[in-house]
């Protein structure tokens, strides 16, 4: 155990910091759930790519830097420290990317990863179907093989970023006689293909953060299949593992929120009447730090060749509940001012209401926390299935 950074790691941090100081936009970008904001964020992805910062853990051949996970954590810390924009391509780089790395053919990797890292192609994810939700095995949309093509019919829902993205990755039923987890395949679909209709879904904040996608005899080349036909469930589970795991929920994000919460608390120090607010602020900070420490521990294990297990479900519960708690605590600190929209808030109070709405999705998506508790009990603790 050595909890100090090596000279190389420190040099890497310095390089990231210096590059970000020069390149991070001085004024915040518009939300990537608006058309203009989406394009601003795409531009930012291209800027990142220009410095080879698109996805530092990927091989250089695909636009990365071959960094290990500890370096990735350092990159993320500096990224949040710098207040850099959110990653509009997170479905691609954090979810599909690692999956492609494991299951993709060399051609697929070269084709997709490179354009992903460069910000040229932004990805949506298409996990859920109406009536399926956390039950991925209930998928009914089909992809029928016809010669060198798949013909796709059906519907996806809760597809994040789909409104403005270029591509979506989905699971379809390729064996029409199959049931539940069998006969599913993992397929890429360009969102401008004939027969694709995207219907935006407005979120709690009024912006279209996700969409329904309708497929009506959509034809894609058979090359768009990832892995083998019928292997879709297994690949999706691996992807979901990345999602639950550390990539998509960088500890730096929560540490940064906890830091902002402390600042907000200090700024209101003299008016606080709430008898338990100090305790909540302290708890939030400690939990954010515990999540960071835990991630470093996991990263150390992975760097040494270990793997992620069912304890990743603990992560999902922990960060999602922490995120809600931090925002609830901030709103308590803001008191009657909490309900104001950002445009009418003073600077130190901005972002909390939006962040709160966003945090409420945490315990729901990527497998609801109820499902995660089942997984922990059954797979980590070995309790019997119902």
């Amino acid at each position: 155990m050595d909890l100090s950074y090596t000279p190389d790691e420190q040099a890497f941090r310095a390089e990231v910091r210096s590059w970000l100081e020069t390149h991070v936009p001085k004024t915040p970008l518009a939300s990537f759930d608006t058309e203009a904001g989406f394009e601003q964020h795409r531009e930012w992805e291209k800027t990142l790519a220009s410095g080879n910062w698109g996805m530092v853990t990927w091989p250089e051949a695909y636009g990365g830097r071959g960094c290990n996970l500890i370096e990735w954590l350092i990159f993320e810390e500096e990224y949040y420290r710098a207040g850099a924009p959110g990653r509009v391509n997170q479905n691609g780089i954090f979810l599909l990317g690692p999956t492609l790395m494991e299951y993709g053919t060399p051609e697929q990797k070269a084709r997709y990863l490179t354009k992903m890292a460069s910000g040229e192609e932004i990805w949506a994810q298409g996990w859920s179907e109406p009536g399926a939700g956390s039950d991925m095995a209930a998928i009914r949309s089909t992809a029928r093989r016809e010669g060198d093509e798949y013909v796709i019919n059906g519907q996806k829902i809760w597809s994040t970023r789909a409104v403005y993205a270029d591509w979506v990755f989905c699971i379809f039923r390729t064996d029409p006689d199959s049931e539940r987890h069998k006969g599913l395949s993992f397929i890429f679909v360009p969102l401008d293909a004939p027969g694709v209709t995207v219907r935006p879904i407005r979120q709690l904040d009024g912006l279209p953060g996700f969409a329904e996608i309708f497929f009506d005899d959509v034809r894609v080349p058979a090359d768009n299949l990832l892995g083998d036909e019928g292997q879709g469930w297994r690949i999706a589970m691996a992807t979901a593992g990345f999602e639950r795991g550390l990539m998509l929920r960088s500890p730096a994000r929560y540490k940064n929120t906890a830091k902002r919460l402390l600042e907000l608390y200090r700024s209101r120090d003299n008016d606080i009447l709430d008898l338990s607010i100090e305790d909540a602020v302290v708890r939030c900070y400690l939990d954010a730090e515990a999540y960071a420490l835990s991630t470093y521990q996991t990263a150390s294990r992975l760097v040494a060749g270990g793997s992620i297990g069912a304890e990743a479900s603990c992560n999902k519960i922990f960060w999602s509940e922490l995120d809600v708690l931090m925002h609830e605590t901030a709103l308590r600190l803001l008191g009657p001012q909490a309900e104001l929209i950002d445009a009418d808030q003073p600077p130190e109070a901005q972002g909390w209401q939006d962040g709160f709405l966003f945090s409420l999705a945490g315990p729901i998506y990527a497998g609801s926390n109820e499902i995660q508790r089942n997984i922990i009990a059954e797979r980590m603790l070995g309790m019997p299935r119902a």
Binding site: G131, D274, L275, R332, P336, A338, L360, I364, Y365, E370
Partner: protein
């Protein structure tokens, strides 16, 4: 000792609740969102016809002479349908305050009949609320300057709209200048009026929060019975049941303090701080928990603009922090409990009886 509502109270509540269920639908609330005023004239008319805005004004001044106990179930019913809130404030805060002032101020006495007749609208500012909801459509304002109470006309103030997360609300910031002429009460009398206004305002918010909690529980339970996952209704999963049972339990024990506080305001308004603060804390918690768990039960659906749950949730978030947030009210309770001679034994659930429900 009788901790129950009268037949008349229950019947009036039923009539109002039934009207509200019919008239205040999610569709009609959404229709208001796109309007500048945020109002629904038809609903306001029906509510006015039922006499709700003037319930608490004494009969001898032209009101109905009813009490907070008579109105608490009405306010709860308003919360249950997520009625965009102005009427409850009008009835609990604005009208009684003007009526009280009218007893010994000529300007107020002249205004009161116009208010009762629905010819003018009155907005009340209070130091505890930074903004006035539905302030833009008011003709007159009663505003605080320290302990002083001022009455000013619409053209003497500057109103700036500010946006709320709850699209049903229409907040305005009021900028104005106090003058000797505008002052209608001051000193201890002014302080007493402001304290009473705060307690009545908090009572209205608390009652609506209880109703909002009930409304969210109902919506989530219904959703859980329609929605299937893993081949069965999600409402049959124990985890989902327990989320809802926890909400129901919190609400079950928020209502008795709510009704007690309404009674206390009615019989000893000047000593109602403690009872009101208990009610506001308990109902706020019940509503926030209901919002959180109802959201979780709704899953991704609850996160959409299309889902009506947001109407209730956002209203609950706003009201939880209106008329004193949980911090303010818990602190008031804390001060009360810790002062010398506080009556805290098992025999004092209703205060010292020889002083008629005193928490002083």
């Amino acid at each position: 000792m009788d901790f129950s509502f009268s037949e008349e109270q229950l019947e009036f509540h039923n009539a109002v609740a039934s009207m509200l269920r019919n008239e205040v639908t999610p569709e009609r609330i959404r229709a208001r969102w796109d309007t500048e005023s945020g109002a629904d004239a038809e609903v306001e008319k029906q509510i006015a016809e039922m006499g709700i805005p003037i319930m608490l004004v004494p009969e001898e001044q032209g009101g109905l002479g009813l009490t907070a106990v008579d109105i608490v179930l009405i306010a709860e019913a308003a919360g249950q349908v997520a009625l965009p809130e102005s009427i409850i404030n009008d009835a609990l805060v604005c009208a009684p305050l003007l009526a009280e002032l009218a007893l010994d101020n000529e300007r107020c006495a002249q205004l009161l009949p116009q208010l009762l007749a629905g010819k003018i609208r009155l907005g009340v500012g209070h130091l505890i609320n930074p903004y006035i909801n539905f302030g833009a459509d008011r003709d007159w304002f009663i505003l605080p300057q320290g302990d002083e109470v001022h009455l000013v006309a619409r053209d003497e103030v500057m109103l700036t709209p500010v946006g709320s997360v709850d699209p049903s609300r229409r907040l305005v910031r009021v900028d104005w200048t106090a003058s000797e002429k505008s002052c209608v009460a001051s000193g201890n009398y002014g302080a007493k009026l402001w304290r009473a206004a705060l307690n009545r305002g908090a009572l209205g918010a608390a009652a609506q929060l209880a109703g909002l909690a009930q409304g969210m529980i109902e919506r989530a339970v219904n959703y859980s019975m329609d929605r299937e996952q893993f081949g069965k209704a999600i409402g049959s999963f124990q985890a989902v049941k327990h989320l809802m049972a926890d909400c129901a339990t919190r609400l079950e024990f928020a209502r008795p303090p709510l009704y007690r506080s309404a009674y206390t305001v009615s019989v000893a308004a000047e000593r109602a701080d403690y009872a009101i603060s208990h009610a506001k804390v308990a109902t706020g918690e019940a509503a926030l928990l209901a919002a959180r768990n109802a959201m979780q039960v709704h899953g991704a659906m609850g996160y959409t603009w299309e889902c009506d749950l947001q109407i209730w949730m956002k209203h609950a978030w706003a009201l939880d922090k209106a008329w004193g947030d949980a911090g303010f009210h818990k602190n008031r309770v804390h001060q009360w409990l810790l002062r010398e001679g506080a009556l805290t034994g098992p025999e004092y659930s209703f205060g010292r009886q020889d002083e008629e429900l005193s928490y002083a």
